[in-house]
Symmetry: C2
Subunit: 324 residues, 2 copies
């Protein structure tokens, strides 16, 4: 039917689904986002209304690229998205509870194949296809947000494990002492309690309390301190702020040194707000990694910061699933 | 040329290379060892003499199956064997130092393709092809010997990582306190310092020293206590011996709970002398695993003991590489 030389379906849809907003992008095979639209995720208590709103919002974007017949498939990155089942399963950060057959719903609404994975895996796919991990077959993506997520790539593929839920490095226990911090998962001492944005805020409150050193952070309400406040203070030479990043980075770097024992990665790619702290966080990560990694792996893995912008990485990563 | 219906080359050679002995097996496609022979590994300071001796020792076995023309390939499981390069690289437990192109040497001597992997990966392949992990696509093999080794299987394949040296879970650091035990790798607190046979002996000496309880183990020279002695004492109701296994198993089970975060395995398969301690070691492993694993993974992974005999598993596992 189609006699010209362009591929029959040259686009995919990528969806970065967050608890608050959902960002949709129409992406070509080079990773260029040709059109983009956003809808609220939490405004639709019924997921069917959400899918309907999404399809409506996508229509003008689809018109720009000649309609849905030019779209090969759709990929979704969503919290607790399961690649094997196509479902979102018991996501704590979404309005929909239980098991949501999101891939099936979008596939029926759009008439194209739809695949889903969790947000950290989508970010890893984005880095592998279009970011700093391009060409790498073995790397570990660490996402530093409200929590700590991860996407593990072995032999060019995301590790999904027996149930689709592999790769929860934020919940590796790094502290078994009685002082270990309680984690939202119900256990204690998870990496996430130290190295997420909220972990940094906890460290800030703790360090301010146990020290008498002056600090710019003392001017703030301890309950409202953010990792950005700590960054701003560190930039102004604040000692406690520097110690907070030192502790956070060292904890993360030492944990990554342990992670290297799994898949001997070519790189760790760090992503998320905390990476904006630049050398304040990357220097202690690097030092801890080098001090703690097994000599067999020394000097082999690069410690990289994502080159993709926040939502861009997730949309591109999700869209990469659309080509499968 | 060959007009009957049997496959043209129905056998493979598997080699389980240890620091002391090398066990060769001729294996058919069902995993039956049709013939077996052993030579000393350490008796040949020159690896070329070793290969020559191996080929001579193999000759009667090969005659039994109609000669080398019936052999499809050879697989080797060896300490520090690298799947990517075909070399043994800087093995501390072998007489040959530096980089030994063992796959190339055997391939030239026998005229068949030869592949190599490390001993723990070979054991994992043996379990996957012929043992308790048959049919599993995601599992973790833990070998408990003089050291602690591991073979990680994701999506039906051994994880080799960027350099062929992935899967060193014995060197995951599980203790960051100042009391952490020094490890042969030059660092402190590695899992291996607690859960290997030598780790059990260290624990025995430590527990005997810090306690005044009577123990059958006090009759032995502390420097000569083995994990088998501890097992015999536990069987006789010795309290300290039971505490030693409790500590060892708990440490291992808690570490495995962390490992589950990587590939959400269907099973952990434990292999090696220490597993002969049966419930003394498996009960605390199971309890620690269940107490420490992320709720997402709870009840999903089986904790299994290898069903293959010591050298059999390694020979079969290595031989599985011969079919590739």
């Amino acid at each position: 039917m189609d006699n010209n030389l362009t591929p029959e379906k040259p686009y995919v849809i990528g969806l970065d689904m967050g608890g608050t907003n959902s960002v949709f992008g129409i992406v070509d095979s080079r990773g260029t986002i040709k059109a983009q639209t956003v809808i609220s995720t939490k405004a639709y208590p019924d997921v069917k209304d959400y899918v309907k709103a999404a399809v409506e919002a996508l229509q003008p974007c689809l018109d720009m690229i000649g309609g849905i017949q030019n779209v090969r498939g759709m990929g979704i990155g969503a919290p607790d998205g399961n690649y094997y089942t196509g479902n979102i399963e018991h996501a704590v950060n979404l309005v929909w509870k239980g098991i949501i057959p999101i891939a099936k719903l979008f596939s029926e609404a759009l008439g194209i194949p739809v695949r889903i994975t969790n947000d950290a895996n989508a970010a890893a796919m984005g880095e592998m296809a279009y970011g700093v991990a391009r060409g790498m077959n073995n790397f570990i993506m660490i996402t530093l947000g409200t929590g700590v997520g991860s996407g593990i790539v072995c032999d060019g593929k995301i590790v999904y494990g027996s149930d689709g839920f592999a790769g929860e490095l934020g919940h590796v226990i790094v502290d078994y002492t009685p002082e270990a911090r309680p984690c939202g998962c119900g256990r204690k001492g998870c990496l996430e309690t130290y190295c997420s944005a909220t972990g940094v805020a906890r460290t800030a409150r703790q360090f301010l309390q146990k020290s008498v050193k002056p600090s710019l952070l003392r001017e703030l309400n301890p309950e409202e301190i953010t990792s950005y406040d700590v960054f701003c203070a560190a930039e102004k030479g604040d000692e406690i702020a520097k110690e907070i990043f030192e502790f956070t980075g060292y904890t993360l770097g030492a944990a990554c040194a342990n992670f290297a024992n799994f898949n001997s990665p070519e790189a760790f790619v760090f992503f998320g707000g905390l990476t904006k702290a630049g050398h304040w966080i990357m220097d202690p990560i690097t030092r801890a990694y080098n001090e703690n990694v097994l000599s067999l792996y020394k000097g082999k893995a690069k410690l990289l910061v994502s080159s993709l912008e926040g939502s861009e990485a997730a949309v591109l990563g999700a869209s990469a699933l659309g080509w499968e």
